[in-house]
């Protein structure tokens, strides 16, 4: 069996329901998952631990999602960021992609859509290793 280390995923959304819904699904799919509803705590965490994928909301209290993702990309450019937001506009999407975001998913989304996005990250990494 494939015994590669599990991909580490960090999920940040200030609405607990989003984290609660996503965590079990990601774990079932074989990922190591940490969830945060507080952006400052999430920021602390990315400073001590590298993640393969960061999934973040954009509009949050305290640190805004756009700033958070900039921090992530600055610290570990290899971390792929997926933005999830209920305030999707062309401008935010454009700005996200300019900041090197891997994918942009508008809420509400199907669980399979977000899992697919993470799987694409996985494939990209596998291809890069080959």
């Amino acid at each position: 069996m494939d015994k590669q280390p599990k991909m580490r995923v960090l999920i940040l959304d200030d609405e607990p329901i989003v984290c609660k819904r996503m965590k079990p699904s990601f774990e079932k799919a074989g990922y190591e998952v940490e969830t945060f509803t507080d952006s400052t705590l999430a920021l602390e965490r990315i400073r001590e631990q590298d993640f393969d994928v960061v999934i973040t909301d954009l509009k949050m209290e305290k640190i805004d999602g756009m700033r958070f993702l900039s921090e992530v990309k600055k610290r570990t450019p290899t971390t792929e960021v997926i933005v999830i937001t209920g305030f999707a506009t062309m401008e935010t999407a454009k700005e996200s992609f300019q900041k090197g975001v891997f994918d942009f998913v508008a809420k509400p989304f199907k669980m399979s859509e977000i899992l697919d996005a993470v799987r694409r990250v996985e494939e990209k990494r596998r291809a890069a290793r080959l």
Partner: protein
Amino acid sequence: MNGLWARICGTFSRWRRREPRVPLARILKCFRSILARNSEILDLMATMGKALSGDYVFDSHFVHSSCQRLIDLTQSLIHDLNILSGQKYVDLYASLEGIRRRLDAILAGQPSIGDIPYTLFYEDCNRDWIDEVGGKNANLGEVRNVLALPTPDGFVITTRAYHEFMASAGLSDFLTQQLNPWETQDTQALEQRLRDLQRRIEASSIPEKLAREIYHRIETLGRKYRRETLFFAVRSSASGEDTEHSFAGLHRSLLNVPETEVLQAYRQVVASLFTLQAWRYRRDKGFGEHEAAMAVGCQLMVDAVVSGVLYTVDPTAPPHSDALTVSATWGLGPPVVEGNRKVDRFRVSRDPPHALLQMHVVPKTASLISQRDGGTQWVDVSEVDQSRSCLNSQQLNLLASTGLLLERYFKRPQDIEWAFDTSGQLIILQTRPLQINLSDSDICRISDITASAPVLWSGRGDVVQRGIAVGKAFVVQSDEDLKRVPADAIVVARESSPRLAALFRHVRGVITDVGSPLGHMATVAREFRVPTVVNTEIATQLIHTGDPLTLDATQNVLYRGYIKELSYHELTYEEVFEETYEYRLLRRLLRLITPLHLVDPKGTDFTPAGCRTLHDIVRFVHERAVAELVGMNLASFHTSGCQIRLLEIPVPLDLRVIDADGGTVASPDARTLRLQDVTSIPMRAFLAGVVESNLWERTPVAMDFKSFLASMSRTFDTHRVPLEEVGLNLAVVSSNYMNINLRIGYHFNIIDAYVDDRIDDNYIYFRFIGGVTDLTRRSRRARLIGEILDRTGFRVEIRGDLVVGRMKKRPRSTMEHNLGMLGALVAYTRQLDVQMISDEEVVRHVERFMELFRSLWPRPQAAEPQGGSHGQAT
């Protein structure tokens, strides 16, 4: 004669009242805007409805903003209708305001106080009322009203009654002043104060209006059961009790209380909210003291022969030990619940036929029974019964299957109190989640197990209800098969159908080839929370009866074989989506949004005041908007630029046409339009289908001329026939646009299309609803139309008897071809629901129509891809 005169006067005054104010261009703009908003509203409603399936991740922002958007759109809709009609429907603003206020109250988490009664019969009780009736009563309401299992009859005294009682006794202040703050260090002093509070509660009188209501409930039950005195089990059901927090044994419940003593028992149960243990439990579990409230259940006493407790998972063994446990004794249940006496114990297999794995029968010398005049007493058990098992295998089997039904529904292992009464009936007294914790290693194992399990497919179709189902497949091919579906099967069917709905109570999962995530069956799947996936396209080809399957409708993966670990994972680890605040919020809101009550435009309630939901308003506005435009034709006067003309076509379709901009070439004086006068590209294509396809003549409905007229009502002189008898058939056209509204009897059909040589702007929107026959036949016709649309490349949604088909961004030739097809389809299906007597008819008519149409009208050269269209025509 007088009637005719009055009508002429009425028409004239209506015309005078309205005519000069709004130019036609403005009216048509309003009409188009109504149509556009109508579609947007229906789309948004559909999105919100789909969110309940569990397949979507959404947050409260989505719920709030969607509601706001719906209200804004509906407001604009009403505004446009009023411009179009000369302010005839201003009452709609009041209807909307009423709904908006209730939606706002729900969004703010405060159901308006008028909605909460002091008492509620169990038949009206469900989880929507969880804050008012407490967790225990809410669960019991679901067991009774959704799963239709026997539970004791009775009523609930709600938390509103509790707050009223505490306030009238002057105890609300006592609570805030004497007992707060929480962090009282001095236990003795706190205990003293709590005892004092309990004494005061027990001595306080109950407000008269509350007492009156309680006695009224008792009287109603007395009449129903024709008994002189009723005896009740008066049970606690505090806020949060029997949810993820059990509060087990902390609050009081009193058995066999005579009706005359219910009020006193009520006070005692309320007082038990303030024992030191209950107080500490709340503090430890993080409940705010303002959240503490006691609802009380008053249940008719069950004449129990044997009572006990069932755990659907053995809490002492690993969660996947595949056994459930039963404890039981003769008489009433407290000896089992309190655990201070020896009782019979059984371990039973969770898998059907639920074999007995282990049995431990003890001598039972005494049993607790109801006394004649109230209260309970211990009596000796006969020698024969002392040493024999108090449950037989049949009873154990029923307990096991019922317990697992409850577990599947509540998505958690259950701790169930039950009794068999003197008639041998199993009665559920209460059910609550049994907390079992999975270890981290179990969670890790899940991904390893699923990674190596054979996957039949992944991400196929639409999830209608999330969840895990493990069981044997049963492929349903005919109506006869429906009767043979074993309990605990995973049903596989060609299409979703209301007839499958009858199976939902017992089956583990449902998979279909085709179907809608919003149809009637979907509603039932969600009601029973049965994992269901539709539109997989290939299920009946890949799966055979007897195949072992695991359907993970949460990740949307279907595995071959049994993966029980997945169900245990769901039962013990994942948050129960249906119990989340956001789910309950959305469900509550949707009750004021999506149900459609105004189905009959001729009904007496088809008024602004009759609009109970946003959907009602939307329907009303649309119907009236069309009627207003058609009404202008009746008034007909040659007003400047107003060209509303009857179309002369060789089929009996009474269609009036408004030319908004270059859609026709008739002379300005002409009162009627000939076919060749129509130049609108989409309209020409549609009419070609209606007329040239010849299907009007070939329609398979045998009808006499009279009923034919009644349904189609071609009016030979529109001025003499009242509007309501002619049907409201109206087309608004311009050179590249058409909007057709057909109302034939109860059928209601809209086709909105734009066709141009520029591919990007092209679209067709087709919407069909209604019929005069029963829902099943209408649904069959909906399926027929849906299937034909699907085959011709439309993106299709079916909800009950509503069909919506959409197509976008195809070349002009394809759009014209498909508009012709729609014309032929309208001709073919206008009375077809009468014939939809079986599912075979659906298939027969689909084939017949496709064949006739293809032979008459071959596809254009630049044909589109073959087959289904999902995802293409977005």
